[in-house]
Amino acid sequence: MMKKIVLCILFLALVLSLCSTPSIAAPAWPTKTITWIVPFSAGGNADNISRIIAPYFSKELGVAINIVNQPGAAGEIGTMAIAEADPDGYTIGVINAPDIQISCIVNDAYDLDFFKDLNYLATYTATPISFYAPQKSEWNTLEKFVKYHKEHPGGLLFGEGGIGHRVLMATVMDYFGIQISSVNFNSVADVVAAALGGHIDAAGAGNQVISQFVSGGWAPIAWGGTEKCKDFPDAPLFADMGLFTDFLNVMTVLLTPKDVPAYVNERLIEVANKVSRIPEVRTQLEAINCVYYFTSGADMDKKMKDYYSQIQTISEKYKSAIVLNN
């Protein structure tokens, strides 16, 4: 009898505690400084974006936000730190898509579970990648570029600045049935330097570096995104060819560890939506040459997961072109 009473009390206590937790704790977050992890070095694109939007978040949430750079292994280390942080809502962060999907797909040693370890809340940017070539070359349009490759498979040196660019290259190879030979550079800046110095024949790089390319006599031969390039309207959109490349647009996505209470995610999404309505946010992001694109909540989460499967399909087909050590 005694046992039953104790059990009942315990059960009641459990039910009560479960019921009461959200209603008591929900308004109590946040009460102290939030750590915002950027898995790249200070001064990089993700860092610049974070330093632009974090102050607006801080103002809305009423607490300070401390940006912490944890660079290394193409963002893998910092992302892991976010996933492994205490799920109390006081450690959040950002990561770049499609890098995170690609890491999870091609790096077998990477422990992060893309679907289980993180919540994807919002992004303010989606900067597409384009193809560039010298204006005076024999392959100064996409058509000629494809024709040249049909006649000379792998005949041009195609410079690219990262694994995301290689996935786009593989997508183009798949679409036209051609073979492109790539040279990998550490950063987009290195690609531009090699291009202007005549060390490579064509390049894949973000839309944001167009001015540098143009200054060296290069021009886009195919353009990423949904709007044509203003100065080079002749460059076809990948989208117009039926090539869907949105999944390769660089998005800097706000993250929380998987097990944070639902009210933390809800509040962050609410704040993110509010911040997206501030006009200066867009102006400031465009000043650093990002393409402004806001999405949040369920849409964001769905995008991340849809893109994962698209990248996985293309990666499996072109593993040797994407993962260079195979």
């Binding site: 860092d47 290394g72 005549g198």
Partner: protein
Amino acid sequence: MWGLLNGLTIAITPTNLFYCLIGCLVGQLVGVLPGIGPVQATALLIPLSYGLEPTTAIIMLCGIYYGAMYGGTITSVLINTPGETASVITCLDGYPLAQQGRAGVALKVAAIGSFVGGVISTLALALLGPSVADFALKFGPSEQFALMVFGMSMVIGLMGKSFIRGLVSLSFGLSLALVGMDPISGAIRYSFGINDLVGGIEMVPLCMGLFGLSELLVLVEDLNVTHKASALNSSTLKKEELRPTTMAIIRGSFLGFFVGLIPGTGSAIPALISYSMEKSLSKHPDQFGKGAPEGVAGPETANNSYVGGAMIPLFTLGIPCSPTIAILMGAFMMHGMIPGPTLFITNPDVIWGTIASMFVGNVILLILNMPLAAAWAKLADIPNKMLCPAVLVISLIGAYSDSNSMFGVGVMLVAGVIGYVCKKLDIPLAPIILVFVLTDKMEQNLLQSIKIHSGVLGILTSPIALGLLVGAAAVIAGSLIMEIKNKKSSLLEGDE
């Protein structure tokens, strides 16, 4: 030239002058804290510049950069702890000078060298400007690979007395650099299943452990020693040191500027080449490593004039040559300006104002540091039992804050013990860190060149690369011959 004068009138308005001073002060303060180098300092303070006029903001950020560069020199000289690679070389002779009670000399020589280097490279930037930008672009992967090999050959000059011990140090640095992801394929090497090693070993904690902590362990052996302010404790150069030091500064200025033009070099290369050059030109090469003022002056000058050179590809092509310059580029963009050839036309005031402010910044640093050098030098007189714990705490914080992880602290502690053992075995430490820094870039450029030329031999088709590789071979051959000669003569002496 007219533009430069125009820029000067912008740079010396009271507001700009004030922010330049603030930048230099903050930069220097931050630079003194190990673990926070010019890159981090500039990046962290960019948000502070939002509210300012673009020109003022850029001027302040540049000030932070020079200030932080000089701050790194201070810790290298006083506590043998370089905050960034450019200062590793400064430790070699700066710290021995401090131990002899001549820290003031090292700091002053570095301040004057930085000033002259800064001024000469600013002038060169104003005069040559866009016309040399094409030179920078000639350096593709093959040429950069050859340059890295040339840089590596210079490391031989730092090997100390024993060639074999030098090679041990060199190979150790090389193997450390291989840890982590392969720069091209992303294959993971030597991480032993430790996730933190996947990204490779961080340079700052490694540097702080090998140099700073190991020195601390040496000092702890005898805690009661105080660096007595000896008779030598003056801040003036000896008469016979004057000429070589001046020449080192002049040579360093031009060297730094031209290396700065080449994308992807980093400030360690000019410092390294300058040190080797001074050592080989010196009448007393044996004094290097024991406190030769020209061993501080040349590299410090070169790494400062490097900044002027590195601004050219940034301003004219929008290509950042080094991490700090990349951050400045970010700052330009945040203030609505895209670095590139049109910047000279669209925002001439900002460009020339910035160039002129480099002049002003160097003057401010010189004025600040001539009197401060003596004050800083007094720190070297603090007894070991008080100095050691303080340095340990600062180093621990620095190692942590570099990547915000305890792993960095671990790297520093292990590196410290290794450094201590190396010191006991007379294995030189500088090659470890310099080879470590050069390897990554060298490997990447090599793989790119192989891809571009479909083979290794294709690299030789570039005249610049060929020239640099022949130069490197000559340096190595020369050192080997010297080594054999020295061995023979010392053997002969032993016989007599």
